[in-house]
C-alpha cells in the first residue's frame, strides 16, 4: 500500500478509523473463537468464517444508522456484529444456548437481530436480495428516511433472484444499497469461471443502477465508497451498487481445507490483510504502536470472555421447539 494524500494525520479521521479497527478486531476475534469452539464441539453446525473480509463489514455497516436495515448471508457474523448485534448473544446462538440471538433456533446461518435492523443471515444463496428489495419497498411506502443494505457474495449474482431484485429496486426507485462482497469463490468454485461478462457491477449497470468498485481490503476505501453510496440512497436517488473485492482466508466452511487454491495465492492475500493494512495507515498517521497493540489485545480478551460465558450458558428448553411456529394452527394446541 502506498502513502496517498488521504493518509496524512491532518486530514485523516483517525478516531473513526481506530473505532473501525476495533470493530474489525472484534469480528476476527469472534470468528477465531467460533472456529476454536467448533473444534471443541461447542459450535454445532457449519460456520462460514469471513476472516480476511472484515473491512467490508466494518466499512459498509459502519456507515449505517442503527435504524437502517441490513440483510446478510451464510457468511454473516461480521456484518451482524458491525450492524451492532451483541457478540455474547451471537456466540450463544452458535453454541445453541439460551439467550442466543434467535434463542438457539437458528445457529450461525440464521442469525437475525431485528433490534439493530439486522433482518437475517440466510441459508439460501441470493434469497436475501428480493427480501431486501421488499423491505426497501415498504420503507418507501412509509416515507421513511431509513435505508436497506443487502450484502451478498459473488456467487449470488448467478441466481435469478439477483436480476429480479435489482430490476425491481430500479423500477420502483427504492432506497437500497446492494453490496457484492466478492471474495472470488463460490464454495469450492472460482466464481469467475462460472460467470459470464464482466460480473456483478456490469450486471447492475445494465439495469440502470449506478455502481462503484473498491478494494475491499482497504477499509478507508470501502468506508468512503459506502458513505457516498449510502448518502445518495438516503437522499432518495434510488438504488446503488457497490462491489468490494476481497478474499476468503479460510475454507468455505471452517472445516474445509480449501486445497483447491494455490498456496501462493493465499499467501499473497495474507500479505493484504485488511487489519494489518489499516494498522499501517494509522501508524503513518502517527498512532502509536502501543495503542494499536492494546486495541487488539482488549478486543481479543473481551471476546475470549464472551466465549467463556457462552459455554457456561444453559441449553434452551426443549419446549421452545414448539413456540413461534404460527398463531393459527399452533402446534402446541394439537401437537401431532
Amino acid at each position: 500500500m502506498t502513502e496517498g494524500p488521504g493518509l496524512r494525520r491532518d486530514n485523516f479521521d483517525w478516531e473513526r478509523f481506530l473505532e473501525l479497527l476495533g470493530l474489525m478486531h472484534r469480528i476476527r476475534a469472534f470468528e477465531e473463537e467460533a472456529i476454536a469452539g467448533q473444534k471443541e464441539g461447542l459450535v454445532l453446525g457449519a460456520i462460514h468464517p469471513s476472516i480476511g473480509q472484515e473491512a467490508v463489514a466494518a466499512g459498509v455497516c459502519g456507515n449505517l444508522e442503527t435504524a437502517d436495515l441490513m440483510l446478510s448471508t451464510h457468511r454473516g457474523h461480521g456484518h451482524t456484529l458491525a450492524k451492532g448485534a451483541d457478540g455474547l448473544a451471537m456466540m450463544r446462538e452458535l453454541f445453541g444456548r439460551k439467550g442466543g440471538t434467535c434463542g438457539g433456533k437458528g445457529g450461525s446461518m440464521h442469525i437475525a437481530d431485528f433490534g439493530v435492523g439486522m433482518l437475517g443471515a440466510n441459508g439460501v444463496v441470493g434469497a436475501n436480495i428480493p427480501i431486501a428489495t421488499g423491505a426497501a419497498h415498504a420503507l418507501k411506502l412509509q416515507g421513511s428516511r431509513q435505508i436497506v443494505t443487502c450484502i451478498f457474495g459473488d456467487g449470488a449474482v448467478n441466481r435469478g433472484p439477483f436480476m429480479e431484485g435489482l430490476n425491481w429496486a430500479r423500477v420502483f426507485d427504492l432506497p437500497v444499497l446492494f453490496v457484492c462482497e466478492d471474495n472470488n469463490f463460490s464454495a469450492t468454485t472460482r466464481t469467475r469461471e462460472m460467470t459470464g461478462g464482466a460480473g456483478a457491477g456490469a450486471r447492475a449497470e445494465s439495469l440502470g443502477i449506478e455502481t462503484t468498485e473498491v478494494d475491499g481490503n482497504d477499509l478507508t476505501a470501502v468506508d468512503a465508497a459506502a458513505r457516498a453510496a449510502i448518502d445518495a440512497v438516503r437522499a432518495g436517488q434510488g438504488p446503488r451498487f457497490l462491489t468490494c473485492h476481497t478474499y476468503r482466508m479460510t475454507g468455505h466452511t471452517s472445516v474445509d481445507p480449501a486445497a483447491y487454491r494455490p498456496a501462493q495465492e493465499v499467501e499473497e492475500w495474507r500479505g493484504n490483510d485488511p487489519i494489518a493494512r489499516l494498522e499501517v495507515a494509522l501508524r503513518m498517521a502517527g498512532i502509536e504502536d502501543a495503542q494499536l497493540t492494546e486495541l487488539h489485545r482488549s478486543e481479543a480478551a473481551a471476546m475470549a470472555e464472551i466465549a467463556r460465558t457462552a459455554r457456561e450458558t444453559d441449553w434452551p428448553e426443549a419446549a421452545g421447539a414448539f413456540t413461534d411456529v404460527q398463531d393459527v394452527g399452533d402446534p402446541r394446541e394439537r401437537a401431532y
Partner: protein
Amino acid sequence: MTMSTYLEAGRRAVIEEMERDASVWALGEDLGRGGVFGQYKGLQEMFGTGRIADTPISEACIMGAAVGAAMTGTRPIVEMRFSDFALCAVDELVNQAAKARFMFGGQMRVPLVVREPVGMWRSSAAQHSQSLESWYTHIPGLVVVAPSTPADNLGLLKAAIRCDDPVVYMEHKNLWGLEGELPEGDHMVPLGKADIAREGRDVTLVTWSGMRQGCLKAAETLASDGIEAEVIDLRTLWPWDRDAVMASVEKTGRLLVVHEAVTVSGFGAEIAASVAEALHFRLKAPVSRLGAPRIPVAYAPTMEDEARVSPARIVAAVRKTMQPAEVS
C-alpha cells in the same frame, strides 16, 4: 461382495452408468471438486469437464437446462446439493419435467435424475434439514426414490439413471458414512419394489430412508418383549410396493408407518389410508403413523431432538398399537 459406504455406492453407480451409456452426464455446483459431500470425487478426472459439469449457483437453470437436455437425447443427473435448494427449481421440475411428456402428447420423455440429499443432520437448522418427499409423490409424472442402504443406493441409482421418467432421488445426509456390502457386477434394484428388512408376525412397520435403521433398532427392543415387528423399507415411494405392504399387514393385522418427515400430509398418510381402505376388516388395531411434529427443525440439540423420530419413540408407538383396542 465388497464393503462400501452409502456415499461410495452412489459414486460407483454414477461411474458404472456413465461408462455404460455415453449419454449420461451430471451437472451441479462444485462437482469438479467432488460435490459438496464428495459423491463425485475424481469423476471429472475420469469423464472430463463436459460430462461432469460444474455449474453456476443457478438452481432454476440447472434443473431447466437438464429438462432441455433430457428432451434432446441425453440423460442428465442433476445434483441439487441439499433438497432444500431444489426448492429454487420447483417450477422447472414440477411444471416442466413432470408434465412435458403428457402435455406434448407423448412426443418425448424427460429421462433425468434429480439427486437431492434430504434429512436431519447435526444441527443444520431449518433450511438444511428438511424431508419433503411427500411433495413429489403428489406430482403425476415423477418417480420418487429414497434409498437407505449402500447396496440399494447402488442398485436404485443405476435403475433411476436408466429410467425414462424424471426421478427424484433422495439420499439421506446422515447415511453417507453407513457401511454395507455391495454385490459385484451390474447390481440393479428394481424401482417400485420394497425390501423386507426384517420379518415378523405381530406388527408391520413401513418406513424408508433414514428411518430404516431406527425401525430395525426398535424391532430388536420389541423382540426382547416378545413383539415381532416386520420392517418394510419401501425404497421407492412412487410407485410404492402396495403388494408387499398389503401382504404383510394381512399377516400381522397392525400397521405403523414411520418417517422422518412431518406427520401431517406426510407420505405415511397415503399408506395408512390405503391399508385402511383395503384391509379394514383384517385390522386388529387402527392404522397409525409416526413422524415429526409440524415444526421447523431447530438448531440447538434440545429443540432439534423434538423433531427427531428416535427408536424409543418408535417402540412407544408400536406398544400403543399393540394394546387391545379401546372402545370409546
